[in-house]
């Protein structure tokens, strides 16, 4: 049986990947941010997942505005990273698990989540950088991976409440998978930030910390907020934090908090690492 052994949150900003590529993770600007991943790495080394499901948003690599799915699930053998327009060398491709993907597709659609099924899917920095931060650059990658993309770019985007429900459905879907597979769910993106408009540059440390505490122990708290509420507090791109709820919903209510780390600012954002043990 598939087993969700835990969930982890991570920022996915491009600068994280650049810092890793440039080998500057221990420079003063980056040190505290990357050191916050230490206990997560230790937990992963112990927990030994076979596969990660990465909940992230595409930023204009695989999806253009002609087709913006609310939720999109990868159903491919291989997921390639690719040039996002900046000419960066893509990282090695990721190995998926199609039988698990199709099982998830079937279960989620049966549970009335109207997902988009993607049998070919490029994965951008939103998917890649959390894996790089948590596992380090490796070839091949030490875990299989399945992308679950949430639209946080083209409004209307799904509510925090809907994301939490998707997570619960994802948990049920995984529980009903007959193969032995150890799964960790990564909730990525956020936290508070805004890239555009006269309000660009906002970070709300108090709101971020409140979100971290509540997502860890009382995620329903987050569903009181409309997306407008979240944008008001956390910024237009801070809405990404709703994706953490997909991860959280898949875990037990009483999943154990193993690690909490918060840093701000990094690039334009507040960044939180949560490690929740579901065993």
């Amino acid at each position: 049986m598939a087993k969700i052994i835990g969930g982890i949150t991570s920022s996915h900003i491009p600068a994280v990947g650049n810092a890793i590529s440039q080998g500057i993770t221990q420079e003063p600007y980056w040190k505290r941010f990357f050191d916050g991943y230490g206990p997560a790495k230790e937990w992963l080394a112990e927990a030994k997942p076979d596969l990660v499901i990465v909940v992230y948003n595409d930023h204009g690599l695989n999806f253009f505005l002609d087709k913006v799915p609310t939720f999109a699930l990868g159903c491919a053998d291989i997921y390639e990273n690719a040039d996002e327009g900046w000419g960066l060398k893509p990282v090695p491709s990721f190995t998926g698990d199609v039988k698990l993907s199709w099982h998830l597709a079937e279960s989620l659609i049966e549970q009335e989540f109207d997902i988009c099924m993607c049998q070919e899917m490029k994965v951008d920095h939103g998917f890649v950088n959390p894996i790089r931060a948590l596992f380090g650059d490796q070839e091949p990658w030490p875990v299989k991976a399945i992308p679950l993309a949430v639209n946080t770019v083209q409004h209307p985007v799904p509510s925090a409440a809907r994301c939490l429900k998707l997570g619960k459905a994802l948990g049920k879907a995984l529980e009903s998978y007959p193969e032995d597979t150890r799964v960790v769910i990564l909730g990525t993106g956020g936290m508070s930030h805004q890239l555009q408009g006269e309000r660009a540059g906002i970070i709300d440390v108090e709101f971020d910390l409140e979100c971290m505490d509540k997502i860890a122990t009382d995620p329903e708290w987050m569903t009181q907020f409309s997306n407008a509420d979240i944008i008001r507090r956390a910024g237009s791109e801070g809405i990404e934090t709703i994706m953490w709820l997909v991860m959280r919903g898949a875990l037990k209510d009483d999943a154990k908090v193993i690690h909490k780390h918060y840093h701000a600012p990094i690039s334009n954002t507040g960044a939180g690492v949560l490690v929740l043990d579901n065993q």
């Binding site: 230490g38 204009g60 690599l61 996002e84 409004h155 555009q196 309000r199 334009n268």
Partner: protein, 133 residues
């Protein structure tokens, strides 16, 4: 008719990328999206105006593309993620764009960001269960 009022319209200095913003800017965002492809970037670089024509980018949008007026493009509905595919390779970061939106220097913008972290470790210490490295 007018586009309908949204509950996020009154958030100051914030342009939520909804239908109303995306609709008139479809062509410019499509042009920017093609920049994922090196061949398209090369074709654009060789003849920017012809590339705009080919992608149906006209009027003020075309003018802003040719003038590399990234702020103007943002104001006219270019999505920040798509725009990054044009401005980042030209040495204009997302922070430069954010600073320009406020009419401050990038250094000031970055300092404002750094200030957000003031007292962070004290705040975390008070909360108690954060790892502080």
């Amino acid at each position: 008719m007018n586009w309908k009022k949204q509950d996020y319209d009154d958030i100051p200095g914030t342009y939520v990328f909804d239908g109303q913003r995306a609709h008139p800017a479809y062509a410019i965002n499509k042009l920017l999206y093609t920049f994922n492809d090196q061949a398209c970037r090369d074709e654009f670089d060789a003849e920017p105006a012809a590339y705009c024509d080919k992608l149906g980018v006209t009027g003020d949008y075309k003018k802003a593309v040719l003038e590399q007026d990234f702020l103007g493009l943002l104001r006219m509905g270019a999505n920040i993620y798509f725009l990054a595919k044009m401005c980042v390779p030209r040495g204009v970061s997302v922070q430069d764009a954010g600073a320009a939106f406020q009419g401050i220097t990038t250094e000031e913008f970055q300092q404002n960001l750094l200030d957000k972290g003031n007292g962070l470790e004290a705040i975390l210490a008070k909360r108690g269960d954060y790892w502080n490295g």
